[in-house]
Subunit: 274 residues, 6 copies
Amino acid sequence: MFYTDNKLQFPVRVETPDPQFARALQQAIGGVEGEIRVAMQYFFQACGARGNPKFRDLLMNTAAEELGHIEMLATAVALNLEGAPVSIKEEIAADPVSSAILGGINMKNLLSAGLSAMPVDSDGVPFNMSHIYASGNIAADMTANVAAESTGRVLATRLYNLTKDPGMKEMLAYMIARDTMHQNQWLAALEELGGPTNVFPIPNSFPQEQENQDFSYAFLGFQADGSDPVAGRWSTGKSLDGKGQYTSRPMRPLGDEPVLGPAKPNSGAQTEQL
Amino acid sequence: MFYTDNKLQFPVRVETPDPQFARALQQAIGGVEGEIRVAMQYFFQACGARGNPKFRDLLMNTAAEELGHIEMLATAVALNLEGAPVSIKEEIAADPVSSAILGGINMKNLLSAGLSAMPVDSDGVPFNMSHIYASGNIAADMTANVAAESTGRVLATRLYNLTKDPGMKEMLAYMIARDTMHQNQWLAALEELGGPTNVFPIPNSFPQEQENQDFSYAFLGFQADGSDPVAGRWSTGKSLDGKGQYTSRPMRPLGDEPVLGPAKPNSGAQTEQL
Amino acid sequence: MFYTDNKLQFPVRVETPDPQFARALQQAIGGVEGEIRVAMQYFFQACGARGNPKFRDLLMNTAAEELGHIEMLATAVALNLEGAPVSIKEEIAADPVSSAILGGINMKNLLSAGLSAMPVDSDGVPFNMSHIYASGNIAADMTANVAAESTGRVLATRLYNLTKDPGMKEMLAYMIARDTMHQNQWLAALEELGGPTNVFPIPNSFPQEQENQDFSYAFLGFQADGSDPVAGRWSTGKSLDGKGQYTSRPMRPLGDEPVLGPAKPNSGAQTEQL
Amino acid sequence: MFYTDNKLQFPVRVETPDPQFARALQQAIGGVEGEIRVAMQYFFQACGARGNPKFRDLLMNTAAEELGHIEMLATAVALNLEGAPVSIKEEIAADPVSSAILGGINMKNLLSAGLSAMPVDSDGVPFNMSHIYASGNIAADMTANVAAESTGRVLATRLYNLTKDPGMKEMLAYMIARDTMHQNQWLAALEELGGPTNVFPIPNSFPQEQENQDFSYAFLGFQADGSDPVAGRWSTGKSLDGKGQYTSRPMRPLGDEPVLGPAKPNSGAQTEQL
Amino acid sequence: MFYTDNKLQFPVRVETPDPQFARALQQAIGGVEGEIRVAMQYFFQACGARGNPKFRDLLMNTAAEELGHIEMLATAVALNLEGAPVSIKEEIAADPVSSAILGGINMKNLLSAGLSAMPVDSDGVPFNMSHIYASGNIAADMTANVAAESTGRVLATRLYNLTKDPGMKEMLAYMIARDTMHQNQWLAALEELGGPTNVFPIPNSFPQEQENQDFSYAFLGFQADGSDPVAGRWSTGKSLDGKGQYTSRPMRPLGDEPVLGPAKPNSGAQTEQL
Amino acid sequence: MFYTDNKLQFPVRVETPDPQFARALQQAIGGVEGEIRVAMQYFFQACGARGNPKFRDLLMNTAAEELGHIEMLATAVALNLEGAPVSIKEEIAADPVSSAILGGINMKNLLSAGLSAMPVDSDGVPFNMSHIYASGNIAADMTANVAAESTGRVLATRLYNLTKDPGMKEMLAYMIARDTMHQNQWLAALEELGGPTNVFPIPNSFPQEQENQDFSYAFLGFQADGSDPVAGRWSTGKSLDGKGQYTSRPMRPLGDEPVLGPAKPNSGAQTEQL
């Protein structure tokens, strides 16, 4: 169950409204690296968490935090959009700066939302909830969370570099710090699950003797000339999961050309396929 | 540039066609954990790889491998669909097994594709390329790849448990092994980039003194009663990135209730909002 | 800012797990009439609310409630999915009931989520955030909310009729009651805004003398034989917004056939179009 | 069955082509508040209308009208796009106005459609037919239609304010008037169905004694400090559906923390979850 | 401008309602080969038709026909859904036929639409208007229309084979015939445009001397072993557009490995990439 | 199985980076006329090809080619994006050219991908794999391929006209030539299948005596005034498939107004509908 107090987690102020920056901020709301994604991802992972209940609590707690981040960003978008024109006056047509502003925003922020935030990315594409990764495997979920916070912090630093507004920089400096913690938080959860050598390969409950172990630690090459693939830590030495030795070799096809045979009668094929 | 030899990377055979299993296999083609996703993700990461060129080669090489996996799975789907009915005969209406088969497949595999594979998931939802994570940050990409292969292997083991066809088990045992390697491969790439304490927080090129460091390693609580959040590795000790000490505390709002003020004239609001 | 207490708003219990009903419940999570939709819609409307701040508070308060409803439903889905098979045994192939169960669930609930809930509808289609209507016009938002709760309650009663599990009936009886209130709540908000004759036509800030008033209260007919369109309350009497008199008449084209003229050179058209 | 006469319902003329305004107009074609949405929504509601057949006729008649509105807008988009450049000449690179024009249009209107309209919104996002609300409940459909026409008219007035072209203003003045009527038309249909006290709660066929009536007219508070939620018409007095009395109180969790228990063997979970 | 007469273009009757067939019919409404697609495609092509106005008329006329086909199919879906259960009774749980029916339908047809048609495909995926191909090139549009009617007729014959209801067979026999005509109609339009040797390559307005003519009629091989690609009509003889001679040869890379160089500072990359 | 050699099929060079042109090029990667579409379409058609295996080889060979085209374009996008700003400096706000550049790019190319290519179109909309047409009917597939290459070449010529960079013109001149060949290649495949009179109507395996032959070659008119539809090659003469004679006549409804009757009890309808 959720509660609110109508206050912002961290102050949001904009000294000089910048509609183009509002557009950029939309990526942090409705982009695949954005806050809706992490809020809902942690929420659904929590709802499906089986086993030790502390992971449910950890996840739901941080879901609550991320909801507050969407709220902050939505406020920031609305404040930045105050600078956008809502009606055309004679002067604007001849003024390249105003014209560029109108051309440079997400039109929907104006036309659909009346200068407010929307759950869309910086090009106006709505967020799609297929991006909520909640696998039922707690370790896979944690790796997905590390990945989400990594792209999330990359985005936040790009936004930080795109603005010179002190209020916006302050807000983003807070959010970047939270992304630092969240990367570390999910890495810590993987530690609690035993660290890399216990966690991997995910899922660790599948008996590895049932997989085709000739291929479990081989870096295979798919170079057209049959040469060895590029060497690196992935080619030699003990595997990171601690359960094998990396090798490297070119791959050659083990199967033949697949033949499906003729099409069934009444299956809508051409006569030539029957 | 890409080449093909029309052969399968690994043999694909189906002893007893099972249209419902064809539906399940579609998840491994067009699901968000599927092979289109990884093939295209590695491909686009390779195309955008800046810095040391060996990561481009590593990524493009494995993209080529994954393309062959789609091909294997598509063949497996078509072979399993051979068991689906394409026309209704008198007997079928009264036959619950046949009826369930027709109800249990992705209808589009029959109606749109004529008993062949499609780039859709196990519920018939087409793959959307927004799932291709290619961030321009090589470490963020590698964490995304570890995550992708983790959910990928979870899916493959679920499929393995859902079939008793020896051919299908063999194919999946190969694919599970490849997922084992790919998890290890991307973990190895992170090692090459310096391992956790160098890699994190991602991006490591952002000066941490510019983030709000009061919040960089604090596990914040959002419990309604103001209590401390659930304790764990994330609450105490050295942070996994090696750059801080975890702490834990309840969060309280630092901002006020946001007030946007009245709406602009001519902005499509109600008069009461102006 | 949001908080949680990890408890459920209302008890969720399932006496007899029913995987097909889990599929149906998914509609109430990720369907367009579902709880993600209302939670996020009220949230974004709150974030963009300009004018009297009490609407912001009203909306955000109810957003918090709806988040708890998603949590309840996600729990219900997971509990119902306990009845689904995760591995194929010899007996199942010959057993039409088990086979129908597997065919009748959203495959992704099993394959992607490991028997947990997902933000998808009852056919496995992910929720798309374009369904969040937050227009910047408070009255338009309230009508959208009445509509959302109307389809929401229709859905909840359909679900109620599809289950005989006492726990599920109890949970849905609670949710149906909340939908009753929410319909009434948004209707009350429209009353606060002055009721129909003040609120409509939305937006009431646009001067009606600028619209083409010959057509503002005319029910136009588009019957092929030029006859009058079907009569009703919409054809005669005072208009519901109190500002006009309904009339009714067949429509005839006032414009000519549109002619775009030739295509531009270099615009990719056929030579015949230039 | 449908017919056409190749003429426009209302004249469409553009004195000064404005490619950026073409982009804005796309919202009225393929936006969620646009004409495709209402045309198809009324069409599908008509096709599924059960009970009194006059609602089918009412809906299908207005579906025909809206198809003509798409045609008008598509013509307007094409005429406005006449002003867009299709080839780059030396001068353009140095000319900020031309450059802004190219940057400010939907690129697809040029690249995919050759300076014609598309079924996309003002940011180039294709319309998705999930926005067609046709619930099988005639009253829910009518509330959805009121909502659609409310956001539709808000959009049309925003477009009206964004142009100074007399032809475009004339066309939009006609469309705004039609939206006025359509809001009133669907409100009238709700009157025919008995008005608010008969219509609500939707569906009115569900016996209210089966819902949990302790919660049917209570405005519940989800404030973190346990305080009462914001007061208003929704807190006291007779409910708008005439069947209850509004009350208001803070909500506290009635359920416990949900516990799903351990994961099933073979379900792809980590060993720690079993 | 469009008109309706509320009658069906061709009689629609269902002797024995079959909810699973209703699901299959949905593909012909909201599938990518379905009637919404062609109706809207011809409509938008008409709206953007430049040059000889007879193509506008041809397209809009057939758009009107296709709207009537959606209406027929939507009626057929609703009539077939009459056979679906809307409430669970004791007996059903133990009855595999009823259970399979419920599992085998699109759940949304019941839960969202109350046993009516929806603009979704046979797996419940909503139609997306990105499938409306309207290129601004009349010949490209006509080839897209031939393709659309080809997959459309394939689908219709598959549906014909999946039903034994005489009413449904009659309706589909009509629709298959219309698809025959529409394939021929768009082929005839290509004849009017001059036939293959005038029409191709599309667009014929681009001067072929500006393309790299070494590659204009060469069938290139991408076989891993450098062998010639499979021979056929595409390897030798006069090209179908009458403007070249087919040749065939293996392709070898003409470019080097692409090198993007280091990432920009402040671009969110890892330090190692700078 | 697929291989790579890390080299480009054709050289890609950019003399003057142009971020707006990068945006335009994205259409050729992730647009519905783009290279992902054809690569994946040929791939899936190959995987589902039944009957003569040479079509599988033909398709898979060209799929390999198209993968290399995506690679070329992705490289071109990254090179053009080198010109985009990644941080805001004082001067930029006052500089309309820089501001227009930032407003005119796909924001995601910067924010999500760090100045690299993405699988999205020129307005930032991700490619959706529902556009992969692979019908199981080889002739329908070939017509879809002709259509894909027709819109593909139209797009490529538009891009050619939008740039004056010699490197980009060279690359596009190569791609336009390949589209010329591919149009001819698929036309040749239709010739191998017997040419128009054998191929059409697709599918040619459906016995035409089962369709309603009164309507197989009739161009039907849907003009509101009952007049004959526009005349052309489609109205008279032998049909292009060689199996009928075109005729033309107005259509009149053969069915009545559809009546669905009352709604079922418990189906969520209003009482008035029961």
